[in-house]
């Protein structure tokens, strides 16, 4: 059975997604929760690391899994363990210490990098979008 679910600490993104679990915590907390679900049999559908931002340069993390119980998928387990290791080796940004404009832009880019994948797994409608913070022009 397919039960595609987004696991994310990006509240604004979660609001747009049909099947999701919001993690009120850090990017590492997201990965550790995903790891627990993988231990129970869930399968990773997106890579747990960002496209090209270090963990200390993006406070949000969003991962899509096929949520299910069963045997452990070893490929998913290897990927999530490596990702947890990368995040544990970095000083993470505390979302609550960010100023609002930066927080909104980080959330926006996290959404943008997940958008295609969410569409692929029918978790988001094409009309749905997240807005960045307005630019302050001089």
């Amino acid at each position: 059975m397919k039960n595609f679910t987004l696991i994310s600490n990006n509240n604004s993104l979660c609001d747009k997604v049909i099947s999701r679990e919001f993690i009120n915590g850090s990017a590492l907390d997201v990965l550790i929760h995903v790891r627990s679900l993988i231990h129970l049999g869930s399968i990773l559908l997106t890579h747990p690391l960002c496209g090209n931002l270090r963990p200390n340069h993006q406070p949000f993390r969003s991962v899509i899994i096929n949520r299910k119980n069963g045997l452990v998928d070893l490929e998913s387990l290897t990927l999530i363990e490596n990702a947890v290791h990368v995040y544990e080796s970095c000083k993470l940004i505390n979302i609550h210490e960010l100023d609002e404009l930066k927080r909104v832009d980080y959330a926006f880019i996290d959404y943008e990098l997940m958008r295609e994948s969410l569409e692929q797994y029918n978790l988001i409608s094409r009309e749905s979008s997240l807005k960045p913070a307005p630019l302050l022009l001089i």
């Binding site: 890579h47 090209n52 290791h85 832009d105 943008e112 997940m114 960045p132 022009l137």
Partner: protein
């Protein structure tokens, strides 16, 4: 396929009444160039063009893309096909190149990302674009609330238009140097140099979403299946960067146009190996896409009967998974691989360099540790927005001191750890 690059060597820049080239100096008619980029209604009214010459006390930031001015003098199509020119296939004929010159696009997009280019001082050693005479476009959106995709496209297009405009203005000048490149048909290549190994180049492109995209003939590369391309097409701007992050290891359009892996493989073709093909592939977000593209790209390499594959990555993090999949899938088809990447090994260099690995990846070249911290002393002039140092990738709150000194990781410097190897620092076999 045969392409001639007609080179003019730009040693300096100045503003003047007529855009053109004489005695090593590229003159830029500022108002004409401004009028050209202002045609785009998505860009604001306060656009500017500035010049940055090697050795000057100038800092440019935040830089989005770097583009080499080129213009096709003869042959099908025009530079940057599918972006600002028709979609006709390029890579044949004659192309004018303003060597030593670059167009930089600078401006705010979101509150982090993008890069620094210092034209002198310690930071200049880490970016190849401190050695080019730079025409800098300082850009802003018409509306601060404009859709970011539209604004990113407007910035990208402005840079490409400026690069074509500058080279086109010099089309009647006699070239100082002509380089001739030829790339054989696959049928002929297969029958050539039977004593040499057949080697290909697997060219990985960042394709994750906004600010992380690359275009091939105007097509978003995340939508393609891996495909075969001639290296001469790349020289004519068939591959364009829409990638702004991280500055150190995004492949700028300039580094695609001047891809040193392609240049070296063409030089060594017929001597050390038989350079048969370039395969372009993507780096997507979903694991299904990663599996599909790595299987398909290595399948093409297998169908071509390649003995070896040079693989370059773009970016860090989940693209490491694509790199590693490409590596072991090729190796298990009997194709030897050599990987070119960079490292994110922490500020002390002690952390794991890549997020993924495999036993088959035993021939790996690094372009440096992007987490290395560097102190950039203040410059007399900043083109762009210095306050962005606090928020770009590789910077942190407090990166920018009151006197203008910036303390950042190398990843904030444009092209510092280019995974195409387009850097000024490196090791050479003597």
């Amino acid at each position: 396929m045969k392409l001639e690059l007609h080179r003019l060597n730009v040693k300096s820049l100045k503003f003047g009444d007529k855009t053109g080239f004489a005695d090593g100096v590229l003159t830029v008619n500022k108002s004409e160039l401004l009028a050209l980029i202002s045609e785009d209604e998505l860009l604001g009214k306060n656009l500017d063009v500035d010049l940055a010459i090697p050795g000057e006390s100038v800092r440019v930031m935040p830089v989005k893309d770097v583009i080499e001015p080129r213009f096709k003098l003869e042959g099908k199509g025009q530079v940057f096909p599918g972006m600002i020119s028709d979609v006709e296939t390029v890579g044949e004929g004659k192309t004018l190149v303003l060597s030593g010159c670059a167009v930089l696009t600078a401006g705010k997009l979101v509150r982090f990302q993008e890069g620094i280019i210092d034209m002198s001082g310690p930071g200049a050693d880490y970016t190849p674009y401190s050695k080019t005479c730079n025409v800098v476009l300082v850009l802003e959106p018409a509306d601060p609330n404009m859709d970011k995709h539209d604004y990113e496209k407007a910035c990208r297009t402005a840079g490409l238009k400026a690069a074509k405009y500058l080279a086109e203005a010099c089309k009647d000048v006699k070239p100082e140097k002509i380089e001739s490149y030829e790339f054989a048909k696959i049928r002929d290549a297969m029958n050539s140099y039977p004593e040499l190994p057949k080697v290909g180049y697997l060219y990985m492109l960042q394709t994750q979403g906004l600010l992380h995209d690359t275009y091939l003939y105007g097509v978003d590369v995340k939508k393609i299946l891996p495909t075969v391309i001639s290296p001469l097409e790349v020289m004519d701007g068939a591959i364009v960067s829409g990638n702004c992050v991280s500055a150190c290891d995004k492949n700028s359009t300039y580094s695609h146009q001047n891809n040193p892996v392609i240049a070296d493989m063409l030089k060594r073709h017929g001597k050390d190996f038989n350079f048969v093909a370039v395969i372009v592939t993507n780096e997507n977000v979903t694991l299904a896409d990663k599996r599909r593209s790595s299987s398909y790209a290595t399948k093409i390499a297998g169908m071509l009967g390649l003995d070896g594959l040079v693989i370059t990555e773009e970016g860090f993090g989940n693209p490491d998974a694509d790199l590693i999949m490409n590596c072991w899938k090729a190796e298990r088809l009997g194709i030897k691989t050599a990987l070119l990447t960079d490292e994110y090994a922490g500020q002390d260099g002690a952390s794991q360099s890549l997020a993924d690995s495999c036993p088959e990846g035993d021939a790996c070249v690094t372009a440096g540790n992007a987490n290395e911290v560097i102190i950039l002393p203040p410059m007399q002039k900043v083109i762009g927005y210095a306050e962005e140092a606090n928020v770009i990738a590789g910077g942190w709150n407090g990166s920018l001191a009151e006197d203008g000194t910036i303390t950042v990781e190398l990843q904030a410097i444009t092209g510092a750890t280019s995974e195409l190897g387009y850097t000024k620092l490196g090791a050479y076999t003597l």
